[in-house]
């Protein structure tokens, strides 16, 4: 190794430039601004929509930090009734697609739902709950959907901190809370920030929930212009604003992570020894966990079960098996590829932390802030261009017309997934890698081990928890993914999410309940596996 990292830098730049293409296609639309549409939007809604978007993102950020971070702290540092079960069960809501929770909430708590109907019966026709179709309603639902990102990353971060760090602080006379504030929290900050920024990006790109709740965001406007005015170019320009938002968040994230670098100073072994809570405090902790789990998981699943009712029996096993198979296969491919590429980007940044590599990693993970259908078109257009060239060349060689190979292929679809979700695996992997002390790299290098060898033999074993989290998150994300799947899938390669969409696009929730439950069930498997594999030791 003449110059450590040169190969990795080159690989990272290559990976990033391919993955940034879809976002670049979206940004390229800015070259010819649709002035008329912008003027119209400015006059009618742009300010309101921007304000709504900011308010939503801020609300979801604060909500997920509070719920996800708080619960992670609770289960890692305390023992209370049910804590062991809650520790893994609190990840479960991840398997429930956002639109399912949103719809279940509306179904239950809307004017026509059972709760308000009962209220009116008991208290008279004037009895109302606060309107769910509002900022508060959307923030509540999205917090419940997205807090597991923060929870997962924070839990890993809290667990990875050795007991000794906290004990030292305590022995220096700090109270438990002060030790948390001054030691644990700063060290977990990269993970917390990563989790919160994932949740905020999700909120930014979401269209299903905001449409269901009638809350207008920038993303909603993108669709309004695209579908309502048939103006995809203007829609792409509007989507570019989302990228600006995302850039702003990244800058903020950089700032929040701060200049300080926190690394583990010792081998992790024991983890924090949890303190047993007693009496009212113990039950309060249990109640907090149970409340979140009940709202985010039990409630929507119960609602789905109620909708499904007897309809579950009417399922054709072969079609169902095919749907599950396609879903798992695509999710597995996307998760693996995304983790691998994230590793390349993160490791290149570690070996050679140049601005170029950092920029490459950031631009490769921009896709997460874009609505799925927008990034799918960003994939489709260059892919088809390449494909036509390829088909033309092959056809010329073969002497007869050749069909398209990439457009509408699984490869194209997986590329879209990775372009969309790389941010998830990158944030997770980078946060995990960042906690390994550089002294270990130096030690390995002084023993004559190359960069690749160090990664495989030193870093990977230490990053097991982070890597598993990255795989899990992208896997579940892909399983739930709809817009890119809808636009890019090969004919016949339908997934569970497609099946749910097909049945819900006409609001036939009773019909959609069974496949939606299947998504939840199929999402549970990797969650449980990841928990098993990550074990209680290091995670």
């Amino acid at each position: 190794m003449r110059r450590p990292g040169a190969v990795w830098t080159a690989a990272a730049l290559a990976v990033a430039s391919v993955l940034a293409v879809p976002s670049a296609v979206v940004l390229a639309s800015l070259a010819r601004p649709a002035r008329e549409v912008w003027v119209h939007l400015w006059r009618t809604q742009l300010l309101e929509v921007l304000g709504n978007t900011l308010a939503l993102v801020a609300g979801v950020g604060a909500g997920t930090l509070l719920v996800g971070g708080g619960l992670a702290w609770l289960v890692v540092t305390y023992r209370f009734p049910g804590a062991r079960v809650f520790e893994w069960a609190l990840i479960l809501p991840l398997a429930v697609p956002a639109y399912v929770i949103g719809f279940a909430f509306l179904g239950l708590f809307d004017f026509t739902g059972p709760v308000q109907t009962a209220l009116r019966a008991a208290l008279g026709a004037g009895a109302r709950l606060p309107e769910l179709r509002s900022w508060g309603g959307v923030v509540l639902v999205m917090t419940l959907v997205f807090y597991p990102y923060v929870y997962l990353l924070a839990r890993t971060a809290f667990r990875e901190q050795g007991a000794a760090t906290l004990e030292t602080a305590r022995s220096l006379g700090r109270s438990r809370l002060a030790a948390f504030r001054e030691v644990t929290l700063p060290m977990a900050r990269p993970s917390l920030v990563a989790g919160v920024s994932l949740a905020m990006m999700e909120a930014l790109a979401d269209v299903g929930t905001v449409a269901t709740f009638g809350y207008r965001t920038l993303t909603e406007s993108v669709y309004r212009v695209w579908y309502g005015m048939f103006d995809r170019a203007a829609a792409a320009q509007l989507a570019s604003l989302l990228l600006l938002f995302a850039l702003g968040m990244l800058a903020l994230e950089r700032g929040l992570r701060g200049r300080a670098r926190f690394v583990q100073s010792q081998r992790r072994g024991s983890g924090i020894a949890p303190v047993r809570l007693r009496g009212g405090r113990a039950w309060a902790a249990s109640a907090a966990c149970a409340a979140v789990l009940g709202l985010a998981f039990a409630l929507p699943v119960a609602q789905l079960l109620a909708w499904a009712g007897g309809a579950l029996g009417g399922w054709q096993a072969p079609r169902f098996a095919a749907l599950v198979g396609h879903t798992l296969l695509l999710a597995g491919l996307a998760a693996t590829l995304a983790a691998l590429l994230a590793l390349v980007l993160a490791y290149a940044g570690r070996l050679h932390p140049s601005p170029g590599v950092r920029l490459a990693a950031r631009s490769a993970s921009m896709g997460y802030a874009l609505p799925g259908a927008v990034i799918a078109v960003g994939v489709l257009v260059p892919l088809a261009w390449l494909d036509h060239g390829l088909a033309g060349a092959l056809g010329w060689l073969a002497g007869h017309p050749v069909p398209l190979l990439l457009t509408g292929s699984a490869a194209g679809l997986v590329f879209a997934y990775v372009a969309r979700f790389l941010s998830v695996s990158f944030q997770t992997v980078e946060a995990s890698l960042g906690k390994i002390p550089p002294s270990l790299d130096d030690a390995a290098r002084s023993l004559g081990v190359g960069a690749g060898g160090t990664l495989a033999r030193v870093h990977l074993p230490l990053m097991r928890g982070g890597l598993l989290t990255a795989l899990l998150l992208v896997f579940v994300e892909t399983m739930k993914e709809l817009p890119a799947t809808l636009l890019l899938r090969p004919m016949g390669l339908d997934t569970l999410a497609i099946e749910v969409w097909e049945r819900t696009s006409e609001a036939m929730w009773a019909d959609a309940a069974a496949p939606a439950l299947a998504i939840v069930a199929a999402g549970l498997a990797p969650v449980v596996i990841a928990i098993r594999l990550s074990g209680r030791r290091v995670s």
């Binding site: 119209h40 579908y227 088809a384 457009t407 490869a411 997986v414 495989a456 899938r489």
Partner: protein, 337 residues
Amino acid sequence: MRATPFRSPLLALALLAALPAAAGAQAPGEIVVYSARSHYNQEPAFEAFTRKTGIAIRTLGGNAPELFERLKAEGDRTPADVLITVDAGNLWNAARAGLLARVDSPELAQSIPAHLRDPEHRWVGLTTRARTIMYHTKKVSPAELSTYEALGDPKWKGRLCLRTSSHVYNQSLIATMIKRYGEPRVEDVLRAWIANKPVLINSDTKILEAIAAGQCDVGLANTYYLGRLVAKDPAFPVLPFWANQQTTGTHVNISGGGVTAHARHRAGAIKLLEFLTSPEAQQMFADANFEFPANPQAGLNPVVARWGKFRQDDVNVAAAGEFQAAATRVADRAGYK
């Protein structure tokens, strides 16, 4: 642990390369339909066509604007022979983008009334859906109702449920009104609706349920959503009122289809459209989803027939496309979200 992270992706990539071949295999003569109708996988009329002709059909479902992007990107190498979508505005847009080819078929012209077809013969209606006023049978008397415009009357203040203007069915309704009355007058109508502080709900089914539960007394919805609810619960306390019978007629929209510009099985595709518009297939559409058949020779579903006959607005449904962008703008200006 050491080597596996690198070996498994290689295996995955190999699998990936094998997939398109498996999924894309196509039987000779098979017709490919891109469909934005819901339940594209279970169209009884498609199955009947295959039984009758032996020609197999493969479908790819999706939202209309996205299917268009795919068709556009695939260009002259697209596997699609037929494009089917809901909403005339979408069909108009597909035709404008050059995605549909002209088909001169006397049979289609005979089956489907002129206002439900493209004047330039690139698409035809397959089903008709009426979007009209829905009212609670115990709280509203039909005598109080007349036109879409009259829903702006202050007597409906706080009693009105509307879908958001982002939905294409509302956009098409507004677009047809613009064709009839011009933008300024329609903007006034929408302002009057909004002045009544309607509850905005992004689902026709939910609007009907909201009327039944007493959240509002009147609303606008497509009739087939009511058909589904009534089929489940015959006592459902909501009925359609046929709007604008004394003036323009009730607004209708279509789901429809056309042959793609680069269809490889053009003859088969035309045959499919001709079959789908025949009374036999039209009956299946009518029965499957409580829609109105586009071919007047086909009978109505009994649930639908009970609502009585009505006069359709006979303005060509292409207006929905022509004025859709204008409809979105007018709604924006009127503060109709």
